[in-house]
Symmetry: C2
Subunit: 505 residues, 2 copies
Amino acid sequence: MRKGWASSGVDLHLEISATGGRRRGLEDALREAVRDGRLPRGTRLPSTRALAAELRMARGTVSAAYDQLVEEGYLTTRPGAATEVADVTPPAPPGVAGMARPSLPSSPGTAGVARPSPHSSASAPPDRPTSPPEAVPVHDLRPGLPDVSAFPVRAWLRATRHVFATAPSHVLGPCDPRGRIELRTALAGYLGRTRGVITTPDLIVVTTGFVQALNLLAAVLPGGPVAMEDPGHDFYRDVARRAGREVVPLPVDGLGARAETLTREVAAAVVTPAHQYPTGIPLHPRRRRALREWAAGSGRLVVEDDYDGEFRYDRQPVGALQGTAPEHVVYVGTASESLAPALRLAWMAVPPTLIGPVTEAKLHADAHTEVPGQLVLARMLETHDYDRHIRAARLRYRRRRDLLRARLLGPGRPLPGVTLAGVAAGLRALLLLPEGGPAEAEVVAAGERRGIALRGASPLWHDPPVSAGLLVGYAAPSERAYPYALDALAETLAELRGGAGRSSL
Amino acid sequence: MRKGWASSGVDLHLEISATGGRRRGLEDALREAVRDGRLPRGTRLPSTRALAAELRMARGTVSAAYDQLVEEGYLTTRPGAATEVADVTPPAPPGVAGMARPSLPSSPGTAGVARPSPHSSASAPPDRPTSPPEAVPVHDLRPGLPDVSAFPVRAWLRATRHVFATAPSHVLGPCDPRGRIELRTALAGYLGRTRGVITTPDLIVVTTGFVQALNLLAAVLPGGPVAMEDPGHDFYRDVARRAGREVVPLPVDGLGARAETLTREVAAAVVTPAHQYPTGIPLHPRRRRALREWAAGSGRLVVEDDYDGEFRYDRQPVGALQGTAPEHVVYVGTASESLAPALRLAWMAVPPTLIGPVTEAKLHADAHTEVPGQLVLARMLETHDYDRHIRAARLRYRRRRDLLRARLLGPGRPLPGVTLAGVAAGLRALLLLPEGGPAEAEVVAAGERRGIALRGASPLWHDPPVSAGLLVGYAAPSERAYPYALDALAETLAELRGGAGRSSL
């Protein structure tokens, strides 16, 4: 199907494939036109009404295609304005002088808004929450954030309107401590379909995040220490300790968590089987079996932190461990990496024996999770807007991962000997520094001088080494800023080339 | 100013007073026209554009007046439809046979939606959260809910659109554990203005409800028991105990909580000074002084639960205790009664010495409260949509309180000897049964047979009596259903007249 596009003032022919559906065909044709430059950035697209008339399509089909391409970053839109072609070509790297100014003011959009304190790790809130706002880095490559500039605002608002227009008012009244049935039902289907989780709506508890899930479990587990991966998420160790639990290390090697080291004294083991945090290793089948056998044999619990199970790039996602032992594993997933941490929405699939105590704990912790966000997320799951957002985000993040690898390990690499772990999935990579090269603190300090915020990896170990490397989060910058951020990182590493032993840190 | 109203097809003259502002004048004229029947229910109002042109007013003025009357219940609207005159005349009471059917199906609007478990008390979630859904009562006069059918949906959606259209995307990223600065700033102003609270944005912590506030405080208070009012909120006692605190009774008499009984061993006293829960007594000035002196002298803490400070009917609200001792009092307010409990939004104003520990506790409990709801509430405070909603709700609830009093204590009262306490404020009243009359459990059971859900008051006492009375929540039914609910309550009491001693419960 070949169509002129006179109405837009752009001389353009769209090749719309007849196979795969009209909407899919239109999306492909628009993507192609943007990629090969026939639709240059800044081009105003015709209204959905005009294009639908021109192509003899339903207006909803065109509108859905536009939405999809907005979420993928090809198009941009703002309320009340026309849809335009976004700037998708990575900008040429600027000179060092032009960008590495730690004293640059924060962007105009943030003027007058108090900046939150910096985050220290993945889902971890600031180390010093009450400290005064600090200077905002030009580039943030710390882990823990998705690209919130790609948050699906339109889909979220659409679902919000739908919820308030259709839900009976009693949804604003009392709520089951486990959460709204609409969301628990949608999640049971989604988790079964995408992660192989075996559960029912009755066994799901909606929480305000992994942190709260950990607190609820700490309150109901039998006595005994909690084993947590070493290296692993340091903030979660703090949470477990504050909840009154002793934390013991669960060592990680090249096959993942060494499950065979778990003893009967341990009450629960918190693991990241799909993509070990931070090494990125998927738990080896032998270790998965050992973990199950330990839990089943001693009546202990495995807590599966599936923090980024949706973002695997090079092969099919590893199915959830919970699907192989639903009686012994608590599965915890979250919208913090898939949508935004600010939503504070996460979910647990709980074994039948624990659902009563966990529900009681949730009731006494905060009654239930807020309802509007739950209903909006349920709606986005029902309409598959959530799936579409995930697919688009996965593409973007994989592209970023590829760029990171190429920039640091490819030809012209800034610091020989650097290795990257954990790049098969997720929103971050563990950058290991070469022996005899610069120390971790040196790299972080050098980055700071260039206006780039980096996170040292050593606090992830239970007994932190002096220097380990960096945990590089590649999701937080916007699409436009990312290539600049990578350049800043590469230049930071290049500056320290040969600087081994210079620092006595 | 006298204007015809030809454009609407309704032959109507509006007397718009020239004093007090044009919007106010229009609101008054419309209210009057609805009340005296000149605008019968179901009448479609002209569009804001048409009426503005006719009255030579700004369209925004007409629109604001419509919104206000929608919130007051005079007009109704739905997205995409014209504004209409609501049914504001109380329907004639139906016969007993027509209404008292416990087996009536739930209303059509709730079909297919799993019902939450029943609530047992004010902000208290269900006693048995995991029990299966039970039969839905025709009328719910249990405490703990505002009229969620009057939730300001339009203002909420308007603020939501504004927030997503204007906020920089980084608001979806990391957040201070205390909450968004926009909301803390708006609350500091609002609480100072309306409740006399002395605080700054830095000293405010946004929580997910009073329950969470209590948990955070329980985690940071020095050792020692927590004193809680007797009678008082039984669910909060459970929360404090689960958080590891011993709970000791703080007796209440005709002057409120007997502060002089507090010893130095007590770590904190949780009180409801504006409107004691459930007796409704405002704390006597002498007692307020004693409470302050106890806290100041022994370095102990007062927790002020200002659960319904906004709803006082017969005189100006009692100012917050916190305003007289900001160094020793934690003030806690909530949107649960003013908007809806499902939002899970509350706020604490914390003394400077405690802000660090409370912030740390919040960080480790759930990182921070969800951001979209915070920003929407901040916007509603900034635009005074929140104030307008409160004023309209206060009028509605006062009318209900008056109806309750007239129906139970006025001529033709169903059960002589019944008294009502706590009616000067709030969304509920303590109904005390006459000596020698029916027992509390008998009344609850008789109500159940008529399809009316009632809550016995005895669990509110630390050492529960066999029979005390009822805690009647008069906010939960919709405006339309309320008169029927009152009739059902009156008939329940009348049925038990002279039934004293019949039951050995």
